[in-house]
Structures are given as C-alpha cells and as structure tokens.
Symmetry: C2
Subunit: 278 residues, 2 copies
Amino acid sequence: MLNNQSLLELKTLEHLLKCMKIIGDDTIQRTQLTHRIELVKTFQVKKGMKVLEIGCGQGDTTVVLADAVGETGQIVAIDIASPEYGAPITLGEAAETISQSPLGQRIDFHFATDFLQMAFDEKFDVIVLSHCSWYFESIELLKNYLQKIKQVADRICFAEWDIDYTLEPQRAHFCAANIALLYTAFTENDGNIQNLFHKTQIKELMHSEGFLITLEQTVDASYLQDGLWEIDYSNYLLNVFPEVPTKIQSLIHSYAYLMNEQAKPPLSLNSFVLCADL
Amino acid sequence: MLNNQSLLELKTLEHLLKCMKIIGDDTIQRTQLTHRIELVKTFQVKKGMKVLEIGCGQGDTTVVLADAVGETGQIVAIDIASPEYGAPITLGEAAETISQSPLGQRIDFHFATDFLQMAFDEKFDVIVLSHCSWYFESIELLKNYLQKIKQVADRICFAEWDIDYTLEPQRAHFCAANIALLYTAFTENDGNIQNLFHKTQIKELMHSEGFLITLEQTVDASYLQDGLWEIDYSNYLLNVFPEVPTKIQSLIHSYAYLMNEQAKPPLSLNSFVLCADL
C-alpha cells in the first residue's frame, strides 16, 4: 500500500503528465518525470521561490520545478538550443504545450538564449542546472557560468550523470558515453556529449568559486531508459566515425566490445546532486 | 593445511624463485610467479613439449614454462625489446641469471628479435603469448603474428589483462590503462600500452584465422601489484602529458578522477586465457 508521501507523488506525476506534450504511450515520460521529481526533491525547492533553470531542454525538470514553487513561485527556463532543436518533439513544441497547461503562467521559456549574455533585473532564489553539463564545451565555460551565477543567485542546484557507477550493468552506459565523447572530439561538430565531468571535478570548481556545498547525494537513475538510448546511439556512431588515429580507433573498439558484450542488460548511470550556497 | 597439489606448487614456487635475479625482498616476485604458475596450469603445457614464448620480458612466465616441460622439453623465449630494456633489472640481466640456473639449459633466450622475421627449422608444440598483446602496435600486427604462428605451431596459448572486470576496485586499473593508452596515442613514442584488446576481439581474430578455441578461462589476478604500479605510472603521466585536444584532455581528467577517487583500495584486473588449436 502506498503511504501518503507516495500518493502525493503519484498525484503530482499524473498532473505533470497532463501538462506535457506526449506522443503515443506515456511510459517513457512517466519514467523520466519520476526521476525528475526525485531530483527536485533533493533540490529542496520551496513554495514561492523564483528559480532560473539553465539547460531546460524539453522541460522535463521545468514542470516539476513549476509544481514545486506553487502559484506564487516563478520559473525562468532557458536553453541555448533553438526552439527547432530536438526529436521527436522539438524544444519549441514541448514548451508550447507546457505554456498552455495550468503550470504555464509560472514559467517563462527562453530558447536560443545564452545565459552569459542575459541581463537580469532581479536575483533568483536558486539556479538549477540539471543534466546539462556534459553539453558544455569545456570546464572553463562551466566556470564562467558559475561566475555569472554568483551575480544573480546565492544558491545552485546541480545534477548530472554519475560516471562513478556502482552497479556492473551501468558500465555499458559509461562506455557509450565515452564513445559519444570521442566522436565529438574527432568530428568538431556540436556532438551530444562534449565532456564527462566527474562529481569531484564539479565540487572542486564550485569550491574554488566560493560556493559551500550543503548537499551531496546520489539519486538512483538506473531504471531510466537513457543508458539504452545512449548505447543504441553509440552503436550507430561506430558506423559513421570519421578516420581517427589507429590507437584511438582501437580504444573505441574496446569500449564497443565492453559495451556490447556485457552479460547483464544495461542499466543507466545514477545521477549525482550537488547543492551549494555562496 | 595445504593439500598435495598446493604443496607441489609451493615447492615449484620456491624452486623458481631460486632461478631468478631478485633485488631485495622477494615478495613481488613471489606474487608474480604465483600468478604465472596459475596461467601455465591453464595452458596445459606437458613434459617434453617444445614451446615458443613470444614477448618473454624478464622471463616470469618462461621459468614456469621451463619447469612444466621438464628436462626433456625446450623453451625458445623471444622478445622484440633489446637486452638493455627494463628496470630495475634489464631483460638481459634477468635472462643471464635464469640461463645459469638449473632451468637454464632448457631455455634459449633471444632479445631484439622480431618473430615475423625469424626462420624456424622445426615446429613447436605450442606458442605462448602471455600479457604482451597490449604492447602490439595494432590488431593487424597481431593478425600477422597469428598467420605466422600457423606455420610453426598448431596450438596457441594466449593470456592478457581482462578489461571486462568483475570487481569494482579493479576499475582504477582499467582507468590507468586508458590514461596510458591515450598517452601513447598522443606522444607517438613507443609507450607502454598501445592497445587494450578485449577478449572477444582476440577470440574473433583467432577464429578468423582458423583457430578453434578449446579453452577460455578467467584467472584471478586481483592480488597482483600491477594495478597499483599502473595507477602510479598513470598519475606520473598526467604531469608529463603533451598538449592534447580539449575534449581528450577533459576525458583524461575524468579517468584520473575515477582512478584516484575510488573508495576502495584498487585491485589488479584479472587475466583471461584463451587456448586454441588449428
């Protein structure tokens, strides 16, 4: 039997599902939202808060944040990608459905928007970066973000895949991420994964920018579909890899063998959460 | 209490230790030989056999093979490295001590010797490649070796580190090997580790060359010192890395964090053994 907390979360989940654009069956969105609800719980976002979400994508975390801040709160959700980006639903389409939902009036979406170039009139209670750091071109860029974040908020909540995996079946997701990163490194496009930051590297960066880490937590994400998607994508990349130095090619092969020869069905990496105050 | 088999192995170990050049305390050599005895046991080398060992190094496996073939057997042990290579004991020094030991007359050492250029008058019962494949410049070179091996023997026994590790504390060794490989890939020297072949890749290669795999086994090597040595070496490499593309640099950092932030003391990877007949 579900306890009161679980009942509340299930009700939240059903409500959020109704606010989002979903194609076909809602299994995937249900799983993704379940994890985002877990993440936002660790962020301790409260009613009435004003939150800036950087790298909002299709708004999976955004809707959970909007629900958490309640009617008196506000979310500014930005993404550097254009509204046409994303499949099967583009960022623009996803945001439009959310904007027309009961949560819509609490959220301002801004796409093709560079945080570093934005001007802000007032401060936020918290800035959220959830599963977007691997898209960052470099650790220096992340450092620049933190420096600007300090000007507009005293609190940051950060979530990312945890490469320090604890379950053997999560290794294939790690190998897939490595292949995707090497693909990006050798194609000079804006490949999906540009870096695989380790949580200690993020902690060190926050610390060097004067943030005090108040919460560090691993959140189970092993049940998500992302690991399998990433493996499928990396197997596709193996066929379109450009010519790379022999030893790198051999390394990519070793990852591919490790990824595909795994005895157990793959699980997704976990998420790590870091919350820090100035 | 030790059983008869264990007693026999202990006696063998003590005998082999006396045949080798050892500087200071023999703990390291004792551990290494214990593992080599395990490996040679899986190779099923018998009395009277004539064995060619490719990549003999300081002769750790060679002495075990020489003991296994007995007085009527013979080992030809070759290495492409020069007799001056190796520290703290060079290949030449190691081989000299072994040659003067009771096992010496069963072993012919040849250094600075390229297997592909060697001429052979007669066939061997088995060809052994033990923990030398990662030094190979490419999978194509390994393929060339197999093609020549087919001309001089009907049986191959192959051992290598198993990157498909089963214990979490073995991951640091895997990360260290990745760093060493990336160092080699970006320095164009003859770096230590040039490839991290996965066992399935070796199996596929053997199969494509007409070998039938008769034995496949994982041999515990977690207790060896090699993982720690490799981690120390990779931490040293981090300080001498040449300039590499930003994303590769970031990947190396991620490995370094994973390698050094591991909660449990590192263990060495296991060895996998493949024996195959034509």
